[in-house]
Symmetry: C2
Amino acid sequence: MKVTILGNNSALPAYGRNPTAQIVQIENEILLIDCGEGTQMRMAQYGHKAMRINHIFISHYHGDHFFGLVALISSMSLLGRTNALFIYCNQFIKEVIEFQLQWDLGFEIIYDFLNEGEAKLLLDESKFVVRCFPVFHSVPTHGFIFSEKKRKRILLPEQLTKYEIPKYFYSKLTDGFDYEDEYGNIIANEWVTKKGNISKSYAYTADTVFNKEICQYFMEVDLLYHETTYLQNESEKAKSRYHSTAMQAAEIAVASHAKKLIIGHFSSRYKDLSPFLSEAQTVFEPTELALEGITFDV
Amino acid sequence: MKVTILGNNSALPAYGRNPTAQIVQIENEILLIDCGEGTQMRMAQYGHKAMRINHIFISHYHGDHFFGLVALISSMSLLGRTNALFIYCNQFIKEVIEFQLQWDLGFEIIYDFLNEGEAKLLLDESKFVVRCFPVFHSVPTHGFIFSEKKRKRILLPEQLTKYEIPKYFYSKLTDGFDYEDEYGNIIANEWVTKKGNISKSYAYTADTVFNKEICQYFMEVDLLYHETTYLQNESEKAKSRYHSTAMQAAEIAVASHAKKLIIGHFSSRYKDLSPFLSEAQTVFEPTELALEGITFDV
């Protein structure tokens, strides 16, 4: 799983930084989280084709998280898309799309509405799942967690030969079952298989005020994105605007036992981002800035 | 008067080229023509402040000409704008803005609707006027002409002394009147003044199929922008989609006696733009490509 940052600024674009958008790559799937203005241009800039996106997750209806969506969908239509597009969003987003794009797009848009305060399964694919969970912002807002499914165990060919396991039983072995031969002998699963690759997970917590209640939805995640609109010396402003500071983001990483933290959604008042990094690292060392164009391996 | 190109591509962004937007600077006024996605980012990139814009001219309601408008207005609001904003557009644009921005922006938007087929005066400032005129596209579309007002004649101080012209008559002299003294002697205007600076004009013809009827609205313009979505070998496609070729743009420049032509709105099928320039220059030599970031002196 990989996460590419397309935009890392808050409401107003500034210093060449753009509004929020991220690409999540899992297996062959390209998923889009939020879609600030200009997202389709930055996708092209970083080598991602709009047409490969089948699922778009919009955290909330503030403009810096969706003003690029109508244009992206319009481009998909102009490019001749026929595959259905799935959008997970607040109902207002659907209304905006339908108000602006009043022509036959050539493909269906299937909406799954995120209801205020609700955590639920959004997408269940063969190799991963995506869930949403509520966070605490000035309007109904959701975070998303992308989790690879539990990997199957890996067969050990020499051991399979040694214990004379019949081929029809191989898929049972990868699922973890022991083998019992015709004489009642048990061949333990761990004698003929090894552990599969670790299943990774990525949590995107959108725009939110500092609140540890959200941690329950993404405990022990491999990579956590948390917003840091302000530095800690503006914590009162952060709170009043339902945003967080770099220190608070790091505290969420600690509380949720995240393995790594990336921070973004910087206020346009800050030109230099290095204080965000140093502030967060005082609390949680494995932190990085979510800089535009960077791809993080989960 | 100066014209800065912010976007020069047609419907789909491609090869780093962006959808249509232009800045016109006249005296101290910054005017915006069309507002494709990402216009506010490119304004910042080229050093133009969004807050200085008081007048926005939207040629038609195709997305590549206005998908950046809601985000631009939203930013103006977040930046604390209080001055009224004037938008000259089709009524649908107003509906889109009002549908998406359902909060108190902190400033008034004053709309002037461009009615299908109508040419009219939009803006009459002390030093310039802006008019719209109908062009021929698949939806109601208007071009715009920006004209400096006729400059006053310039006084010649030594001659004023020599002919003993009283000061109260100076403003009449700059308006071109002769002076008659108390004895009935006529002092001809050209003896005591010289010609004022030449008044310049810029015509933006938006998206249009090739049609010389539009020339009547901008004869002898100093700078003409005409779209060139295709090359001449795609003239049938251009016609069917209500667009023009480079050769046709040049023919409009010839027919309207323009002094200089700039061409843009290139289809995303073309990576190399040099064939557009050479094709247009075979018909009208003083042609330039409307490349993004370039400022043309009118």
